[in-house]
Symmetry: D2
């Protein structure tokens, strides 16, 4: 396989891993909408079981924090894959792991607006990518492109 | 009803509200283990759908952040109820709402150890209770009483 | 005075208040570089007493957190002034206070790169402006426009 | 030197380093009050230049965040020294560095009460001490033992 095919294959595998292999991501109903390494996106539909306030019918805060944590891990996985590809290290024998060993150190969520919408999109952006620690800023918007929440999280990598 | 019965009745209603009326709390499987206003506790069992890393079989970070957000809201609801009872304001006509209008402003989670265990207990402690803003510190421990994560969150009240 | 003059006068007073009236801002050496309500900016020069690591000669983390806290308060003060002007409420008798009653609820700083530079510029952006709570995102860059740190903070207003 | 003397000598050196060698710590007026590895404490006196609100005469938020950042670094330095001593690694030839290479990854401060008092004491507690990342919880109290603020911060170590 040439590098382009390898990258496509890798992306398909990452999508599968995040959507299918992580049980709680399935509970959330996350689908990988973009694997752009600079701004990957996850999407999920509003569903009754994701509600946190039955009167106001808005998302549970935990659905928001969970999704922003996941999109942060996705952003780092893609950034790591991109940096390894750039360095020409992408040999058959040193395949980038589909679920690299990324552990969340801490996470801050700012809840800016009630989580109202038919669907929601989370995007992440790596703002620091070191050999041991990475930091991601993220946001969740609804189908009207209103910013529902933002996140900042630090992760251990490698 | 005298005040003691009123408080018991209120607590039972709060338990019902947090366990049954909030859809995503049911997804998490949260049960209210203690309604002690100084340190309320939620408990949930490990279940396959709560896993975030299928290889390591540990809790999804989002389950942890969601639970610590909920226990913070519970701590504030109970602290508000207690402060209203203390002030002798607990008349039939001014019943404390079961799900008071508590909105999370922001949330920080520190993930300290992998979420491994048969069950988990989250506890919250109100460290600031103002007329408009309250702050809660919280923690999640596993069945071996190991501290898995801590939380700090600010909430709008009233 | 017409509104334009009033706004100019207000801005001059805000600049004076932030630079001269707050003692610790003088310790930091903060100067108000822009009063743009959408992205106000503070600037300070590197000085020996602001150093946190004498070997590496980089900014003390506390200088960074302090400055990002201040720029958040400045952003809110200007946003409140702008919203009051917009609403045509800017009468002689209801002057916007120079140092409105803004209290920081909490603050998160991400330290992204060592604080190295001849001078530093902090900018803030209000992402939530409610009647009781406001949230600001901020960043600190050095003279080479490298992002040194980012901040997210919640404030009580009014 | 036997180990007891070595430890005393090390502690004296750490105290000197934190009080004298870090310029901005001198601006803050920090003095090391306790080198207890489980809960080291810093103290500083209220002084006019540390004020953030001239009307209310309370501490600048940046003084608080700076001090809690420092006490976190101190707690980790002592915890690392203690762990190395425990392991019997404390030989002449492998002296624990006075200012080990500890970098703050991120910091959250909760401002709980106005910073009013004649003096203030900050204490830190290491809640996670890994080979690469450590996490500290901290608090600032005033001379009446009122909790002014709490902190949670992650640091890179080693």
């Amino acid at each position: 396989m040439d590098d382009e095919h390898k990258l496509a294959s890798l992306k398909s595998a990452v999508k599968h891993a995040f959507e299918q292999m992580i049980p709680f991501n399935r509970v959330l109903g996350l689908s990988v909408e973009s694997l752009d390494a600079n701004s990957p996106r996850l999407r999920f539909e509003m569903r009754p079981e994701l509600v946190g306030n039955p009167v106001r019918q808005i998302l549970h805060g935990g659905v928001i924090s969970a999704t922003l944590d996941v999109v942060g891990g996705l952003a780092i996985a893609l950034a790591l894959a991109a940096s390894k590809t750039d360095e020409g290290k992408m040999h058959e024998s040193s395949a980038v792991p589909l679920l690299p060993n990324i552990g969340t150190i801490d996470l801050r969520i700012d809840y800016l607006r009630p989580g109202r919408g038919r669907y929601f999109v989370a995007a992440g952006r790596v703002v620091r990518l070191g050999g041991r620690v990475a930091v991601v800023h993220s946001e969740l918007v609804n189908d009207a492109d209103e910013q529902i929440a933002t996140g900042a999280a630090a992760y251990m990598v490698g």
